[in-house]
């Protein structure tokens, strides 16, 4: 005997009704009787039986119509319907089932058979109900997962897509669902005003692919803001990713340093397809090939941070993409490919329309196979410094007050000069002084300029004239690297003095190098008829940025000063 349930018995003949009710009641079920079709529907709505026994042929509303209505009102629930019939033709019996009945029972009623049918159908009903519960549970679980993914996406977006991506010289295409394909684009300015942009493609898929983007972004933004060099940022990123990612997981990346003052872009590429330098002036497009392993593969000691430098005039661009674009397929299974990409670049030769043309072509190629979730493209344009519209970094100092009267002497010998970049550290110290924070960018630029001059021209003795020749940059950087590696003696010393009071203060930066100096007077004379050569620009820049600039000794001793307020230390 099965669990007691409510059974509706609808038959217009009293005799049949009595008989049926008895059979059903004997099984332990609760019987609800109805005398015709209309009564059957009313009783159904009121009592919500689990099983319905319906006479096929009834006055007012026949069984078939009642069955239809019951099905409709039952909605998702499964209410078995057994048609009671003394119809004998096969097609009439079949009609019982097609009209929405689940079984039929012929007259004369056989008590055993009816009871067996009720049991069997009730079992089906319970099975159906169980499956619906499971379905609902799954749907709820799914909805929760989707909400969690939405939240993850928001966190990802705020970490991985912040910075200065909205700058007027950056255009990018990245899927709103990039959190699931592992692509990340980061952009930020460093204190000197240069723009670092990193394009990354993490292996794997789903959220696990993107989890590495969090620490990567933290390191990128943190170190860029402090003024670290491209290679240092990448070395730290590589170290972190190697640390946290399992073996076999890595991040293909290309990182660039756009220096608007110098008109150069420095590039490091590991594992991504070729990036392209396109020039508006008609020079051929240059492919920037990946020369390094992706981030997170190799140990820190073996990390190679070597970069390539290209000169760019305003209007020239660098374009980078992940393999999603090149590997996207059209309806025939053909890939987009790098030839197609090159053709579009050639056709638009460094022009403004290039990016849009590329995007249109990519979508056209994919057509209905459209999978935008794997298309990541970034274009960075070289502009004059004053045309750049992108926020500069904010400094967060460790305390409110900072040091008010202090001095610092910091000297680097040959080993340090080879291996260590002192600028971020020194900048960090200077930024502890509240009044200097607002001029952080300027101070960093001056610090870099003084250091570069002291090291390159002072200690190493390179002439900057080389840079302005055709192949100048590449060969300059190579020679610099060689000379630096070969360094056995020499030094660069920084001396800082700073005083601050409530009414004002000053910072003096003195940089002394072990070089032979230069003809200061001659340089100043040349400066008068400035032709735009790099070295002249450097000196002009210093004069513009500092409140005062003086050369001592044989030119290997420079002091730059900054004043604020009444410029005194309050001791007057």
């Amino acid at each position: 005997m099965s669990e007691p349930i409510r059974v509706l018995v609808a038959d217009d003949n009293r005799t049949d009704r009595l008989l049926l009710s008895k059979i059903v009641a004997l099984e332990g079920h609760q019987v609800i009787s109805a005398v015709d079709g209309v009564d059957a529907l009313e009783k159904f709505r009121a009592a919500r039986p689990q099983i319905v026994l319906l006479d096929a042929l009834m006055p007012k509303l026949d069984g078939f119509e009642v069955a239809r209505q019951i099905r409709r009102e039952a909605g998702d629930a499964f209410i078995p319907i057994i048609f009671l019939t003394s119809l004998t033709e096969a097609d009439e019996l079949a009609r019982c089932l097609t009209a929405g009945g689940d079984d039929f029972l012929s007259k004369p009623y056989n008590s055993l058979i009816l009871r067996a049918k009720i049991t069997a159908l009730d079992r089906m009903r319970q099975l159906h109900a169980t499956m619906q519960d499971q379905r609902d549970e799954i749907a709820q679980y799914n909805a929760r997962l989707l909400r969690e993914q939405e939240a993850a996406k928001d966190i990802f977006d705020s970490v991985a897509h912040s910075g200065c991506l909205a700058a007027n010289n950056i255009r990018h295409l990245i899927s709103p669902l990039a959190v699931f394909n592992g692509d990340v684009v980061l952009a930020a300015r460093n204190p000197a005003g240069s723009m670092y942009v990193l394009l990354g493609d993490f292996t794997g898929h789903g959220l696990t692919a993107s989890i590495g983007a969090m620490p990567l972004a933290e390191i990128f933004y943190g170190m860029t803001q402090k003024g670290f060099h491209l290679a240092d940022v990448l070395r730290e990123c590589n170290r972190k990713l190697k640390d946290i990612l399992p073996v076999g997981y890595f991040c293909c990346a290309t990182m660039v340093d756009f220096n608007f003052q110098k008109g150069t872009v420095e590039v490091w590429s590991g594992g991504l397809p070729d990036a392209y330098v396109t020039r508006s002036g008609g020079d051929p497009t240059v492919a920037v090939v990946s020369r390094h392993l992706p981030l997170g593969v190799i140990a820190t000691e073996k990390f190679d941070g070597s970069t390539e430098v290209y000169e760019l005039a305003p209007g020239d661009r660098l374009l980078m993409c992940t393999d999603g674009l090149l590997e996207s397929r059209n309806g025939d299974g053909e890939m987009f490919g790098s030839e197609r990409l090159m053709q579009i670049l050639e056709r638009h030769r460094g022009g403004d329309a290039c990016f849009e043309a590329l995007r249109t072509a990519a979508y056209a190629h994919m057509g209905e196979q459209r999978r935008e979730d794997d298309l990541t493209l970034v274009e960075v344009t070289m502009l004059d410094e004053h045309e750049i519209d992108a926020p500069m970094p904010n400094y967060v100092a460790s305390g409110q007050i900072g040091p008010r009267d202090w001095s610092l002497s910091f000297q680097l010998g040959p080993t340090s000069l080879k291996e260590f970049n002192p600028l971020p550290l020194l900048q960090h110290v200077l930024m502890e002084v509240p009044a200097l924070r607002i001029r952080g960018g300027v101070i960093f630029t001056v610090l870099s300029e003084l250091y570069t001059n002291a090291l390159d021209h002072g200690v190493i003795g390179l002439s900057s004239v080389v840079k302005s020749t055709a192949n100048g940059f590449a060969s300059y950087y190579q020679r610099r690297l060689d000379a630096l590696n070969a360094l056995v003696d020499g030094f660069v010393r920084f001396e800082f003095v700073s005083r601050a009071s409530d009414s004002g203060g000053y910072l003096k930066i003195r940089v002394i190098d072990s070089g032979r100096g230069f003809d200061v007077a001659a340089l100043h004379a040349r400066r008068a008829d400035e032709t735009g050569a790099y070295h002249g620009r450097g000196l002009n820049l210093l004069y513009q940025l500092c409140d005062s600039l003086t050369f001592e000794g044989c030119g290997n001793d420079v002091e730059a000063a900054f004043y604020w307020g009444d410029g005194s230390d309050g001791s007057a």
Binding site: D201, T203, F250, G271, S290, L293, V297, I298
Partner: protein, 101 residues
Amino acid sequence: MTIRSEVSADGFGLTIAVEGRFDFSAHRDFRETYERLDAEPKAFTVDMRETTYLDSSALGMLLLLRDHAGGDAAEVKIVNCNPDVRKILTISNFEQLFEIR
């Protein structure tokens, strides 16, 4: 995608051949060729003669193999690469970690 493997007669070398697409679906089979071995080969060769396609998860699997084989001290060769496979390995600069032919 099928993976076949063979240990050399002297037990020192293991050759793994990947036929078809070398992608995420190959993960378990690939690992099993070198993880459950009685022999302890010292030299590993991945034969790409029949490999039609390689994606980043395949690169990951190669790194796992190299790690298993001793990391920096490992001897792992990747041979018989067709141009497409070669291209992908070149872009990733894997010749810095593997001997590629």
